[in-house]
Structure formats: C-alpha cells, structure tokens
C-alpha cells in the first residue's frame, strides 16, 4: 500500500506538471480579456473571410492528404501481405518506417529536390501550394498507413484462408469475406489518425504552403503571433484548432480500433500468402520508389552542393548542438514522466481499479489532441506580457516537446510495462524485490527495449520540431530545422539541402544510437 501511495504521489506530480504545461496555456487562451486589442466579437470567426478560408483549407488539405495516403496504402499493404516471399520485402518495410523519424523539414527538402524546378520530376511553381503539401503528407502518411494496416492481414486466421480456398473463393470473394472484414476494423482509426496528423502538420505547410491561399490553422497561428503581432486572432485560431482536434480525438477514441503496432524500424513478421502477381510487385515497387526518391534525390543534391561551406560555419554546429540538446533532454523528461505514470497505472490495474488506470493513461495521452503550436501560442500569450519568452527558449521548447512525446512513450512502453507488472509483481513482493533492485534485476532487463524505442522516438520528434522553435526561437537559438527554414527563406536552397542531410543523419544516428544504447541488441 505504501508503494502504491509513493507511486500515486509521483504520478500526481507528473500530472500536475503536465496540467501546468498544457492547461495553463489553454487558460491563457481562454482568458482573452487580458489581451490588448481583443474584442469579444473576434470569436465570431465565421464573420472573418480570412479565418473561414484558413479553416476550409486546413480541413480540405487534411481530407485530401488522408484520402491520397490511406487509399493507396490499402492497395500497397494488401500487396505486401500477398508477397510474403518478395525479396526486398524486409528492406522496403524498413524504408517505410523511415518517415516516422525523418524530420518534416527534411522531407520537405526531399520533395523540393524531386518535384521542384530542376528536380527529377519538376512541377515548377505549382509545387508550392496544395500540390506540394499533398506530396509531402503522402510521403509521410502512406508508409505509416501501410505499416498500420498490414498487421490486419495477419489477424485473419490461417484456417479462414484454407476454408476460402476449399470453398473456391475467387480474389473478389476473398477480399469480401476475409480481407475487408479484417481491414475495416482498423480503417476508421487509421484514417482519423492520418487526418489529424495532416491537420496539425506545421513544417510542411509553412515551407510548401505558398502564401495566404494555402495556409492552415497551425501556420496562421504562427503568423499571427510572429509576423502580424495579433494575439487575439491567434487565440481564435488556436481555439478552433483545439476544437477540431478534440472532435477528431473523441471520434478516434469512440472507434478505439487503431491497431496495436509498434512504431519501430524493425519490419513486421511475415503474414499469410494471399496470391502473388505482377500487379502487387509493381505496387510495392512504385510505393518504394515514391518514398525513397525524395531522400535519395536530397542526398545526391546535398553531396553535390556546398557541403564544406555549410559544414564550415559555426552557426551550423551551434544549431546542431542545440538540436541534440533539445532532443536528448526532451526524451529524458518524457520517458521519465511516462515511466512514473505507467508505473502508477499498472499498480492501479493490478489492484482491480482498471477504469482509474485507464484514466491515468488517458491523462498522459490527452495532450495528443492539443497541437504543440496551440500550447506554444498559449504560453506565448500567457508569458510574453510578463517576461522575455525568447530568453527562455530552451526550457520551453524542451518542456513542450517532452509533453508532446508522452503519448508515444505511453504507447511504446505501456503494454510491456503493464504485462511485466501483472506477471511479476506478486513474485517481487514475496522476494521483497523493490526500488532500485527491482529496476535493476527485473524492469531494466525486460523493459529496456521499449524504453529505448520510446526515448529514440521522442528524441527524433523533438529534434525535428519546427513549430515550437519557430515560435520561440531566435537566430541565436536556432535548431537545425529552424536553420533550414531560415535558409529556405533566404533562397539558399543548396545550403538548406545540405543542412537537411545533416539533420537527417543526426536524427537517424540519435534514433539508432538511443535504441541500441538503451534497448540493447535485438534479435530482429
């Protein structure tokens, strides 16, 4: 009981800090009366043509991005399911995990490198705007959707395939009776997740948006605060964004059918063979080329660009160290907070208080509905009248990124930690194995792999963040993503490409390094 109380106190502290970081900015946004220039009528967003346009474009691009990502992903996932012995299968599935750790701004550079003027498939000026946004969003979300949907084929019992064969089902009937029922369980959750990711996407829209015509709520919040100095409009936009995200999250929660798949670079195990044919092979190869091409093209451009000139600047190295610093500290705080929350929820679960345990997990993940830019703008509005927020850039950026990483920690570490707790808690009690010894002999050996994965994920996400750092960063405190954005703004595209390559290498090195250093060698 004493241990449960200790866990409750630690988890309570974590939740209090979480509430302070998430809810205080919300309160700041809601407490509009303190904002100079605010009129109550500002909340009537439907009277503002600008806000209506921004709202429509945000939803429209998210919807199109979702459809363009998920519909082809169904075909590609099915092709992967059918090609269990495809020689490049493992390699391609690893490649499909890459966009999970590739910073958005790096992907943008890849997209520009392929589809920009002078690229392999030039779209000219029409790249900037909806086309570019869609291409970058599909680059990120098609592989994610494939990896989330593919395991659904593995849920089909082997006997069902055999029965289908014995009953003489053709390809359409197999799809109708075996594959679609398995797929439709996960599809709404995956679609909503991709919709949400595209709705809250910041770096892609900021860099490829191409003007007021192609601005989303996230970018409009940033522009209101940093360029137009219009906090009142930022508040309206942030509240709109928050409302839509909450609505999508509630829908997702109601469906609760997102497949439990680990976000890892390890490829999933082989499923049952459906049928092999040329079309499936072509689909897999086309998707592989689509994902690999931006990274490859960017690599070639960077190697042929002003590599030594960029590497020789102190600004780059300062940004690199800042990026690393932010990434590692965000990972440390996020994993620590997730660990304490999950320990408490596992104890509650074992004590039969499952709904309370679920509530603790949910509290840790609820931040998922609050886009980082909304938190950032809330903090900006709340803190800027009282002190120089730009001087506090590192703690603020680390804190927000750590909080934003928490849902990933809960998702990566939660199942293993709960299982571990349920299986060994009573044994530990009978052996009086607790505290440091329990961690050393039980939890560390059994949980280091998901711990490593969680830390690697949060670090990669924080290092790739452009939203929060763009809001609070200064040229002096720029991270690599902000430096790339500044270089793009100055039309130094070759320089930005080289910086993007370095950021990519740094992100991958840190991801693999943390996963290996904490998680140890895996047998996968």
């Amino acid at each position: 009981m004493a241990r449960l109380n200790a866990r409750a106190i630690t988890a309570g502290l974590v939740l209090a800090i979480l509430a302070l970081i998430v809810l205080a900015p919300m309160a700041g946004l809601l407490n509009l009366s303190g904002i100079p220039g605010y009129e109550p009528g500002d909340l009537r967003f439907w009277e503002s043509g600008y806000i209506r346009r921004v709202l429509f474009f945000s939803l429209w691009q998210a919807l199109l991005s979702m459809l363009c990502s998920v519909l082809p992903a169904i075909l590609v996932a099915r092709a992967f399911a059918s090609q269990a012995d495809f020689p490049l299968r493992g390699l391609l599935l690893r490649l499909f995990a890459l966009p999970l750790v590739v910073p958005a701004v790096v992907a943008v550079m890849g997209v520009v490198s392929v589809y920009g003027s002078g690229g392999w498939l030039p779209l000219g000026r029409s790249l900037y705007g909806l086309n570019g946004i869609l291409l970058a969003h599909v680059f990120f979300n098609l592989p994610l959707a494939v990896r989330l949907l593919l395991p659904q084929w593995q849920t089909i019992p082997p006997h069902h395939w055999q029965l289908g064969e014995q009953l003489g089902m053709n390809a359409w009937q197999r799809w109708r009776f075996l594959e679609w029922p398995a797929l439709r369980e996960a599809l709404p959750g995956v679609m909503l997740l991709v919709f949400m990711l595209c709705l809250t996407s910041f770096a892609v829209v900021l860099t490829l948006g191409g003007g007021p015509k192609s601005t989303t709520l996230e970018v409009a919040i940033y522009q209101s605060l940093r360029f137009d100095f219009d906090p009142a409009r930022a508040v309206v936009l942030a509240l709109l964004q928050l409302s839509i995200c909450t609505l999508v999250a509630i829908l997702t929660l109601r469906l609760q059918r997102l497949p439990e798949v680990e976000i890892t670079l390890v490829s999933p195990s082989k499923p049952i063979v459906v049928r092999q044919n040329l079309l499936n092979t072509l689909l897999i190869l086309a998707a592989g080329v689509f994902v690999a091409m931006p990274l490859l093209s960017m690599l070639i451009d960077a190697l042929g660009g002003p590599l030594w000139q960029v590497i020789g600047t102190t600004r780059l190295w300062r940004s690199l160290v800042t990026t690393l610093f932010i990434g590692l500290f965000a990972a440390l705080f996020s994993v620590a907070a997730g660990w304490f929350l999950l320990q408490y929820s596992a104890s509650l679960s074992l004590a039969g208080k499952t709904s309370k345990a679920h509530l603790v997990d949910l509290a840790g993940s609820i931040v998922y509905v609050v886009p980082p830019l909304v938190i950032g703008s809330g903090l900006f509005v709340l803190l800027s009248p009282h002190f120089d927020v730009f001087a506090w850039v590192y703690p603020i950026v680390i804190a927000i990124n750590a909080v934003m990483g928490l849902p990933f920690v809960i998702r990566s570490l939660g199942p293993a930690l709960r299982q571990n707790h349920a299986r060994y808690h009573y044994l530990c009690q009978s052996l009086a194995l607790q505290g440091w010894n329990r961690f050393r002999y039980l939890e560390w050996p059994l949980l280091r792999r998901p711990l490593g994965l969680a830390a690697a994920l949060v670090a990669a996400l924080a290092m790739g963040d452009l939203g929060v750092i763009a809001l609070f960063g200064t040229p002096h405190s720029a991270t690599l993503p902000l430096l790339i954005y500044q270089q793009l703004g100055a039309y130094m595209i070759p320089h930005a490409t080289v910086t993007a390559l370095l950021l990519l290498l740094l992100s991958l090195t840190v991801f693999w390094g943390l996963e290996r250093a904490i998680g140890g060698k895996t047998d996968a």
Binding site: P157, H159, Q162, E165, Q166, G168, M169, F177, P181
Partner: protein
C-alpha cells in the same frame, strides 16, 4: 471408397520424404487417426484436402485419382477445431458460402441451406453471428455447411477438441449420422481415445509419419502390443 496409396510427403522439396501413408476408408465409414503430437495426423488431412502437395503416391476416391486436383475442386469438406466460421457473417450466410461463395443461390439451394440448418437444430439461430453461439453450436454450423457442400470426403481435424465430453459425444453422433446418410468417407483426427471409440469401428495409430497400427478401435485401445501405442495411451 477413399484410398490412400503410397502417399509420401517431404517438408522441403528436395528432402527425403518424412511421411508415408497407406490406408482405405469405406463409404459411410469414419476412420479415426490417433497418435502423438507432430506424428503427421494433420499433415495427412492437409494432403487429402490439397493444402499440402504430396511428393509421391495417390489419393483415390472410388478409383479416381484426386491428388492433383485443386483444393476447391476436390470432393472434400474439412472441419477444424476453431475458426470454421467467418465471425462477421450470420449463420445462414456462413452455411450458404458452402454452396456458392458468390452467395447467388437459387431457390433450391437456399432451401437446402435452410434444411441443413434445420437438421442440425439451428433454424432459430440463422440470423445470429458466430460470436453469439456456444462452441458446440458453432461446430454444428460447420457441419451444416458440410451437409450443403455434398462432398464425399469429410475431414475432422480435432473438430471437437474444445468441447466437453457430453457435447463431444453428442456431436460425434451427429457426424456418424451425417456420414452414414450421405455415404461419405471420413477421417477423424483426435487426441481423445474415447472419441475414436465412439466414432469409429477402425482406428489408425500414426507415429513418426507412418501408420504403425490399423485395427478395430477397441482392440487398438485395449490390447495393442505396440510399445508406442501403449506409451501414447499411457500418457493420455
């Protein structure tokens, strides 16, 4: 009559065969197959069903070779221990799939499905989903589908293993009637010697990929002199 002649199977294409089978089952007969785990009982069923390809030998039904026929065109129905039904479809549809996977049934075919459900005591449950049924009811639905498929060979792969003794005995009686009435040749794989006793006049003992004994069920279970049979039964 189902005849399995010099049937061989190798796990790797170029490896030496690890399984050899010879047996025959008369029309209207259920032959039980017992033996330790991994001995080859389910492999034999998979060879007959066409899920696995033999490396040599023949499978004959009334003298006609079927071992090269595709899975769907073989005169075979199979019932597994679980996952016989599609969970998102109601009972009627699950059974109707056995007639035509396009579900475009003629009036006669639809009537046949209704009759099969009636014979298995499932008429009132026709719109229920498998998840709403007991284990025994689910196996009855699988048997109703066997009935509408009208195939001459029935394979039961641990089909009653998940059921209690009374229910197993009840379903074995259902299967016996089904086999007798439809002149089927059936192979029943079970880990329970009592199932063999209830279902079959004859039982084969399979060990290490071979049929080492094929006798009257009572004799095999009570008086076998073979050490592996005694070991197996002693271990049950």
């Amino acid at each position: 009559m189902l005849e399995i002649k010099q049937l061989e199977f190798a796990y790797a294409a170029e490896a030496a065969p690890t399984m050899h089978f010879n047996l025959s089952v008369a029309a209207g007969e259920i032959l039980s197959l017992i033996g330790p785990s991994g001995s080859g009982k389910s492999t034999l069923l998979n060879l007959v069903a066409g899920f696995l390809a033999p490396s040599a030998g023949q499978i004959l039904l009334d003298g006609i070779a079927i071992e090269t026929s595709g899975v769907a065109s073989r005169p075979v129905s199979i019932v597994f221990q679980q996952d016989n039904l599609f969970p998102h479809l109601d009972l009627y549809t699950n059974v109707a799939l056995g007639v035509d996977p396009s579900l475009r049934l003629s009036r006669e075919q639809a009537d046949a499905v209704a009759v099969a459900l009636d014979q298995l005591g499932l008429s009132d449950l026709r719109r229920r989903k498998p998840g709403e049924l007991s284990g025994g009811q689910r196996q009855r639905v699988a048997l109703a589908r066997v009935l509408v498929r009208k195939r001459r060979i029935l394979l039961l792969d641990e089909a009653f293993a998940a059921l209690g003794p009374a229910l197993r005995a009840e379903l074995i009686e259902v299967v016996k009637k089904l086999v007798r009435d439809n002149n089927m040749a059936a192979l029943l794989v079970s880990h329970q010697p009592r199932d063999a006793l209830l279902a079959s006049a004859r039982t084969a003992f399979i060990c290490a990929g071979k049929i080492t004994a094929l006798e009257q069920t009572g004799d095999l279970l009570d008086h076998s002199q073979l050490a592996e049979v005694r070991d197996y039964l002693g271990a049950v």
